[in-house]
Amino acid sequence: MRRLFVARLIQSLIVVLIVTTISFFVIRSAPGDPFSYDSPNVTPAIREHWRAQFGYDRPLLEQFARYVASAAHGQFGYSFQMHEPVSTALAQAIPRTLLLTGVALGLSFFLGLMIGVAQAARRGGWFDRISSSILIFFYSLPDFWGALMVLLVFAYWWPILPAGNIVDPVLHDYMSGWPAFVDRLRHLVLPAASLTLLTMAGISRYQRTAMLEILPSDFIRTARAKGLPERQIIWRHALRTALTPMVTMLGLLLPALLGGALFVEKVFSWPGMGMLAANAIGARDYDLVTATVVVGSVMVIVGNVLADLLHVAIDPRIRE
């Protein structure tokens, strides 16, 4: 178990290094640089000055060496657009994205499991049919469009919740304790609900299939034969076994979840990694762009390692 963990860790570390290197060179090899934008007000001399100031006039390999040195100091380069080390910008944005994706992931797993199990328990029944058609509709919604529709309905047509941002931009500073918490919560509801809705559909589809594969097995028949109540068979015996493939699903789900979060953040102006990345890309803030790509892949890798470990922990069959 421990050896497996260490091996996975080393492997992941190598993957992260490779991803970092590749994204550094891909991004730097784009035509132009951060200071070559069109503007009549910026003279070539100023551009050269900026390039020299942020090291963009050096050969690519030297820039890479500087980047590695900066990364070794835990700064991951300097964001000229935010006037701070990349690590400072990330430290602000990452928790916000984790909050949004964490809430959405927890909710969608809970709801998705419930719905999937309920569907499989009465396969072909009215609940199964109706919820299946509704869920495949949600499953087909493009992330940003689903979020836009939620925004349109609950923030404009029936304005019960704030349309964007993480807290009230003006009033939050004057709040404390309970009202401040409620303000945060109110701003979290719409983005988290959109992301949940979009993620949940896939999970429940998967859970339904997993349950349907388990239900005909012998140990379920045994449980029925010894007269256990159906509820106990479904929720205790079948669900426990069907949870194992769901853990693998967790690892596969993360890239999609992060991609979805990017769009949801954009729609709801949620100032997390997605917004940070979008702004960095727009301003050609190369160090910051590289960092957001790397952070994205680190999140996916960490999620996958966790899913693997969890898989080993709950499934005794693969523990040797």
């Binding site: 492997q11 993957v15 490779i18 991803v19 994204s23 891909v26 991004i27 784009a30 035509p31 396969r123 299946s132 495949i136 509709f137 499953y139 087909s140 919604l141 493009p142 992330d143 940003f144 469009w145 836009l148 529709m149 349109l152 404009y156 339904r208 299939t209 349907l212 594969e213 890239p255 992060l258 991609g259 990017l262 769009f263 954009k266 990345a277 979008a278 890309i281 727009g282 050609r284 762009v289 957001t292 790509v293 994205g296 892949s297 996916v300 890798i301 996958n304």
Partner: protein, 301 residues
């Protein structure tokens, strides 16, 4: 249902190379209730995309009357309203169908080809090569696709539509090649591969004639689902302003240009959105149905 005959043919399946026959699959698909819906919607969309723009009296990109028809709500002459540049939204949705469908189909063709080839080779060779190929794949899978696409499309702005197709295709094959590898690993153990090798078939021939047809079913299902996925993705990229570049209409770019004040002109967001959802839904339904039809082991749902 059909025990003696089916079980015999099932056991023969392990011995002779069993390509799913085309005609029975189509027949079963047409009998599948939800597949009919999916196919009908897709057929309608393809026809609308091909002939629709010819029937419209407006142009895809030409501005009509920038004073009187700016952001006009839906009416008889403009059923989907007009956008902020006074263009007819219905016409743009029809033109956008061409771009969106063509981009998604070509990108998926590319990614399925790449993924199948990679997975077949990795699964067939096995051993160290397979291990190394899979580790590379793990790395590729961990890169956030959407973020990478946005970065590349922005930094190389403007990317022509062919570049968009290549990028979408080149970043979409990882999942499929895992699937194909797993299928190849189990298929190459079967007797018909050993039989083919015994009569002296070359590796290329075994891969092409015997293994490829046997991994085709999951690839077809994955491809169908991927088309819907890529349509949604392309729309998302265009919505961020980095997909199909203006004034070309794709379903995403239509509301990229209307989304800034979309509470005021919801029609610019709603109608192309419905087109996207209907298309993605149709491809998902069709993909599910294909899975039922092509994979007899799966439970019928």
């Amino acid at each position: 249902m059909c025990s003696p005959i089916c079980s015999t043919s099932r056991s023969i399946r392990g011995f002779v190379s069993s390509e799913p026959r085309f005609a029975p699959v189509v027949r079963r698909l047409l009998r599948h209730p939800s597949a009919r819906w999916g196919l009908a919607v897709i057929a309608l969309l393809v026809v609308a995309a091909i002939v629709g723009p010819f029937f419209s009296s407006y142009s895809c990109i030409e501005q009509l009357d920038i004073v009187n028809l700016k952001n006009a709500p839906p009416s008889w002459s403009h059923p989907f309203g007009t956008d902020q540049y006074s263009r007819d939204v219905l016409t743009r949705v029809l033109c956008g169908a061409r771009i969106s469908l063509a981009v998604a189909t070509l990108a998926v063709l590319l990614s399925m080809t790449l993924g199948t080839a990679y997975g077949l080779v990795a699964g067939y060779i096995g051993g160290r090569t397979d291990n190394a190929m899979m580790r590379i794949l793990d790395g590729c899978l961990s890169i956030p696709r959407v973020l990478l696409l946005i970065a590349v499309l922005t930094l190389w702005h403007p990317v022509p539509i062919t570049g968009l197709i290549v990028l979408l295709g080149a970043t979409g094959w990882f999942g499929v090649s895992r699937l194909v590898r797993a299928e190849t690993m189990s298929a190459k153990q079967l007797d018909y591969v050993a039989a083919a090798r015994a009569i002296g078939a070359s590796d290329i021939r075994i891969l092409w004639r015997h293994l490829l047809p046997n991994v085709a079913s999951p690839v077809i299902v994955a491809a169908t689902l991927a088309v819907g996925n890529v349509i949604a993705l392309e729309a998302g990229l265009s919505y961020l302003g980095v997909g199909a570049k203006a004034p070309t209409a794709s379903w995403g770019s239509i509301f990229f240009e209307g989304v800034e004040f979309f509470a005021g002109n919801w029609w610019v967001v709603l109608f192309p959105g419905i087109a996207i959802v209907a298309t993605v839904l149709a491809f998902n339904v069709l993909g599910d149905a294909l899975r039922d039809v092509l994979d007899p082991r799966q439970l019928h749902s």
